[in-house]
Symmetry: D2
Subunit: 257 residues, 4 copies
């Protein structure tokens, strides 16, 4: 043991044994889903069935959002110069920040603050929502999680909320963002809850630390970036000029499970 | 439409509709697992149940391997200087290359070559394996996928093979690597099939393109890197000297599902 | 022209003509140094001779600081897994943040604040320095730019200050950090001005925007990272365990120009 | 000393002393230019005056090439999402690969091969060039370093060659690429030597290892990327759609030193 000795509580490695948060990985394999493994790695314990389903839904919702998001464009741009798959995905990952994916984090701040004020003041949540909306209006700031440049009713939001209800997960987080949406609407502005806001609300109800908000987005998006990069590598010529919006879809026709 | 117009076959975005490979994402949410979503994004179609279970097992096997792998150390080193979560994970991702995770790709080359020679020559697979082992020996090259510096019988390999048998996925890939292991053993050298070799064999049997080999490793490892970075951020002081091996585990005790 | 049309004021490209901030690049080549070109690219105009010499001195001071800084370790760790040269350097660059290199930015904040208070209050700079040191002490915060874990009198600081005096660049920035050092010493704590603090002071006197502080460090360090990665690639075996401090120097003997 | 002890020959750090390749860094500051420091870090010795001037000219030639190169677009795309300066520059750096900047490396291979064949065969260099051009034609491969999509006579090439002549650096590298250009022209195709080819030729004559070719490009371009990112951060709104070519220059008017 040197004077640089340190401790970790994630994984224990021994000869012929790998234990993640105490569980033998080979025992987990075949028993748990990848989402459950992710939850175990991050939160330290296995999720119950309802939480597992919710985590799956969150991650599935964010795998890909087409070729226009900056993370897809940066990854394709790097790929186009001959980057390795991981190098190109890293360029995409470096493009997931405050203004792309980051609304989850910012919205969690607002929701946590609203919930805290509701609890500590004993006031009705709807009144707190009206106060918050007023405060943001006074400071001319937008409420993260509300509004979308393409979708007026984001289908992913509707599904996340319907699932979080059915799975008994919906709680103060979902209630708070709905109260905020209503307060904004009462001001004459009907804004949809976007997928970032919906994920923020559900992550609050799942008691996921806010510091991991961005990770829930980018863990989901990394496979999407792999798909974008792989398509770039196999379908396009190197060093092409990549137009950010002038692309059309020519994949499988509309279908249903 | 400008002269830079291009096409993509991954995701179609329209107002209030996001379709991944033809399926409405909100329909997929709640119905499919994250692994199935990953498979759909990369391969273009939904996997059947057995393939889904196999993909889950592969991804679960590789979520984390403790604090010593270079990807964990690079991510922690970046985090220790105050990097953002995605910046630190990107530093880790940039450390997943030929010599860390890359054995999957190299092993897939060897297996594909062996299978092709078996089929085209009509020779027995075991004889082809003996030939290949001879060729590698003559060139003093190691066979990727065999041998491990810690594990003499990697428990993750055993489980991957037992699952791939039960799920009716095991095929030429698994047979070929076993033939190679036997041929090496016949030369007096008992080497375990490591987890990279096992994943390579199963990816061959799942008909995953070799170009995605590295991605199957890093998509699984990104959540592990998030856990490593988050632990570094919450448990350690900035700018510490990070010893690559002198760390001990102090997480949950051994437990079973 | 599309509706996405935008403007840039850095470089103009035409057939057989490349102009950086208005100057033909081929005219600049052979006439100006790389440092002058960097200054031109960032600041929009060519520096005079004294400023050029100062920029050279700042950049030379930060090229490398051995194998222990996190940026060198992260870059070597990535290289050790088989990363490309730019991939490994990117991993290093991602490790230059608040706690490594970032003291320049933080120190510039303190110095700018001190100078502003001195000017606006008409008080003596030394009195303002005493106030600031008191405020930091009350909040138990360290003053960025003072103190070093290895050097008690950083030779690079001494040289930067002697040059900035000779070249007529030293001004409020250098005076302010010296006043802070004196105020700390008067409190019974003799701390050296470290190289980050010295660079911060000189950048203030050069009127470099604070937002570029980190860049002045990492533009200088990128070549050092290239040297570290190239040494790792040519001298070490892949996937070695890289000890953060247990290394010794075996390069050229001490020598003088 | 642990069993992980290792050696480095770049920088020696002691209390109040930092030595780069044997020289005290504080002695170098004020005496050498940044380019000379870069050469010292990479090559182990200080360059003479002519080599220093040549290195300056190479680095100045590549600082920036406008907003269209993939490295600039990837860096701006990351910046547009709120990336830190170093994170955005890292995304740009990850976009400097085989097809962007990489022609220097590929061209050095061709030149080194041609020179070696000239020397070993005792044949005239022009004849070897004709052979090589024939071989590339037969394999339908392009000769890296010849041709440009914008410039028919790259002004940077002309200046690099005129300087390398004046500074007594031009040698087999420059001769070989000129011989190749002539051989291509004799085939009826007048292609300019592009700046990558010119740099490749001069790096050969400077005896810079081919493995550092990409670094000479990206060390020069990092400051350009800083300028691009800083302009994006200070001039554009977040999350804009970045058109790869539809931008116009509005910086300083044409001017001369």
């Amino acid at each position: 043991m040197s004077d640089l000795s340190w401790k970790t509580s994630i994984t224990k490695i021994g000869p012929n044994e790998v234990r993640l948060r105490g569980y033998r990985v080979d025992e987990l394999m075949g028993q748990i889903s990848f989402s459950q493994g992710i939850y175990l790695a991050l939160m330290g314990d296995l999720p119950d069935d309802n939480v597992s389903k919710m985590i799956d839904a969150i991650l599935v919702s964010s795998i890909d959002h087409g070729a226009s998001p900056p993370s897809a464009l940066a990854a394709r741009t790097a790929a186009s110069t001959g980057a390795s798959l991981n190098g190109a995905v890293a360029a995409g990952l470096l493009s997931i920040n405050r203004f792309h994916g980051g609304a989850i984090y910012d919205c969690m701040s607002i929701l946590a603050n609203g919930i805290e004020r509701t609890v500590s003041s004993g006031t009705d949540m709807d009144d707190i929502a009206i106060q918050i909306v007023g405060e943001f209006k006074a400071e001319k700031k937008r409420i993260a999680g509300l509004g979308h440049r393409i979708h007026s009713a984001d289908p992913r939001t509707l599904k996340l909320f319907s699932l979080s209800g059915k799975l008994d997960i919906a709680n103060a987080g979902v209630n708070m963002i709905r109260a905020l949406q209503s307060a904004v609407a009462a001001n004459g502005k009907a804004l949809p809850i976007n997928v970032d806001g919906a994920i923020a609300a559900v992550l609050i109800d799942l008691e996921i630390p806010q510091e991991l908000a961005n990770a829930f987005f980018f863990m989901a998006r990394v496979p999407g970036l792999v798909a974008q990069v792989y398509e770039e590598q196999t379908r396009e010529r190197p060093m092409r000029r990549i137009h950010p919006t002038d692309h059309t879809y020519d994949g499988p026709s509309d279908r249903s499970t």
